[in-house]
């Protein structure tokens, strides 16, 4: 069985991988489109930044419930509920970390050299071709930043997991929940170990994001 650290790492990895698969084409589309839906979709994407995690947690709890269509369909398909499951946490984390994946990608795509993209287009490269063979390599720092921030933000998730996770060891008992429980049961030594680890981790992550940004600036 996975302890809180292993479980958190797994959750953040799976979330990052799945979210990047969705966020890259989505951010690419957002960066190039002039659709009237653009501000609407941008606003929806940014909402997890301003909403209290409890709002997300509350709605997810209702959505995951077997009393509702999604929850009951999932229960029939898999035999277990979405709430209190690792899969449920992955879905919750993808929503929760969505802006951290999409926004860095979108701004990286928006800053790409138009001339190069147009040249590729005139040589017959379709939009997806331009994305994968040109835009992604050119925007690789944005991609790195998006992936690192998504991973780190998922590691730091607390409120949503507290509401839909149910604190099951090896399944939904991630680091933040474990710390909360250690503090409430006055086991400060254990709380210190995990909290110290998180402190170092978040510093290293943010430092690497800023270092990436610095390199990019120097090159430009």
């Amino acid at each position: 069985m996975l302890g809180p650290i292993g479980l958190t790492a797994l959750l953040a990895s799976v979330t990052t991988a799945l979210l990047m698969v969705f966020a890259v084409p989505f951010a690419w589309w957002l960066a190039r489109t002039h659709s009237v839906f653009k501000p609407i979709l941008e606003a929806i994407t940014a909402m997890p930044l301003v909403l209290p995690p409890t709002v997300l947690g509350f709605y997810l709890l209702l959505l995951f419930s077997p009393a509702n269509p999604l929850g009951s369909a999932w229960l029939t398909l898999t035999g277990e509920t979405l709430s209190f499951s690792f899969t449920g946490l992955v879905i919750a984390s993808m929503l929760y970390s969505l802006p951290f994946a999409v926004q860095p990608l979108q701004s990286a795509f928006e800053q790409l050299d138009e001339a190069a993209l147009e040249a590729a287009s005139s040589l017959g490269a379709g939009p997806m071709d331009r994305l994968f063979s040109l835009a992604l390599p050119m925007a690789r720092r944005g991609v790195m930043t998006a992936a690192i921030l998504t991973f780190a933000h998922t590691v730091g998730e607390f409120g949503v997991v507290l509401m839909v996770g149910g604190n099951i060891p090896g399944e939904t008992r991630v680091i933040s929940i474990a710390i909360y429980e250690h503090v409430e049961t006055l086991r400060y030594a254990e709380a210190h170990q995990l909290s110290g680890l998180m402190l170092v981790f978040s510093f290293v992550v943010l430092m690497s994001v800023y270092a990436l940004g610095r390199k990019a600036a120097v090159r430009a």
Partner: protein
């Protein structure tokens, strides 16, 4: 603006003499008791003028907050252990049992006979699909009692899901995310539900709920402690799913 606020100030000052003897207390209350205490607080305010601000959480969580200096005046726990520990640590005074808690097993949409045998209920719970919720035993005495029952039944531990307190446990079951679970009788008191089984008190250690005064200077807290021993409150406790405490402590 200035005129308006000075008018308000005068108005507020006029109110003061009438409420001069009324005090205010911050009450830390275990989740299972918070609904009941809201009712009690209303009556208490009518009769004494003292007003209460309730802060609810699991017994363990509130205990940790008090140990870290949270500014509560009185603490209504769901067990006897933590108030005693506060007393031992010199942080609590005048400990007293205010109610005996009752646990119920709630299986929404299942018909349960109140007098059903323990092993029949255990079998019914086993056969039920889905998760079974209880409050985190380390934090919440109702969760600890539930765990005693489940251990006795040799219930499959991998099907359990833990709420931070009985309040969250209730919402897990109520929202349909958990198929059944153990909550406080107080949470569904007066609903006449047929999908609830009162867990016999013999199946777990009694849930003696103690209170302790944290701030001996606070008049409202002291008055509340006295008020909790009144026959009026005893009747209210029974109606809310608790056993009242009879006789001397």
């Amino acid at each position: 603006m200035v005129r308006l606020s000075s008018a308000l100030l005068v108005f507020a000052l006029c109110l003061l003499p009438a409420r001069a003897f009324a005090a205010q207390a911050k009450v830390a209350v275990a989740s299972n008791f918070s609904q009941t205490l809201v009712t009690i607080a209303d009556i208490f305010k009518q009769q004494t003028g003292h007003s209460l601000t309730l802060v609810n959480g699991s017994t363990g969580a509130l205990f940790a907050q008090i140990r870290s200096g949270a500014p509560y005046d009185i603490y209504f726990a769901a067990d006897a252990l933590r108030p005693r520990q506060l007393e031992d640590a010199g942080l609590g005074y005048h400990r007293m049992t205010y109610a005996i808690g009752r646990v119920v097993l709630w299986m929404p949409n299942q018909k349960l006979k109140a007098d059903a045998l323990s092993q029949d209920i255990a079998a019914q719970l086993d056969a039920l699909k889905g998760r079974v919720a209880l409050a985190q035993p380390r934090l919440a005495p109702y969760g600890a009692a539930a765990r005693q029952v489940l251990a006795d039944w040799r219930f499959d531990g991998s099907r359990l899901v833990y709420g931070q307190n009985v309040g969250q446990t209730y919402s897990f079951i109520n929202s349909g995310n958990a198929a059944a679970g153990f909550i406080a009788a107080a949470q569904i008191a007066g609903q006449n539900r047929r999908d609830v089984w009162p867990v016999p008190q013999a199946l777990h250690a009694p849930i003696r709920q103690d209170l302790v005064i944290l701030n001996p200077e606070n008049k409202a807290a002291a008055a509340l402690r006295t008020f909790m021993q009144s026959p009026q409150v005893a009747a209210l406790l029974e109606a809310h799913g608790y056993d009242a405490v009879t006789g001397v402590q």
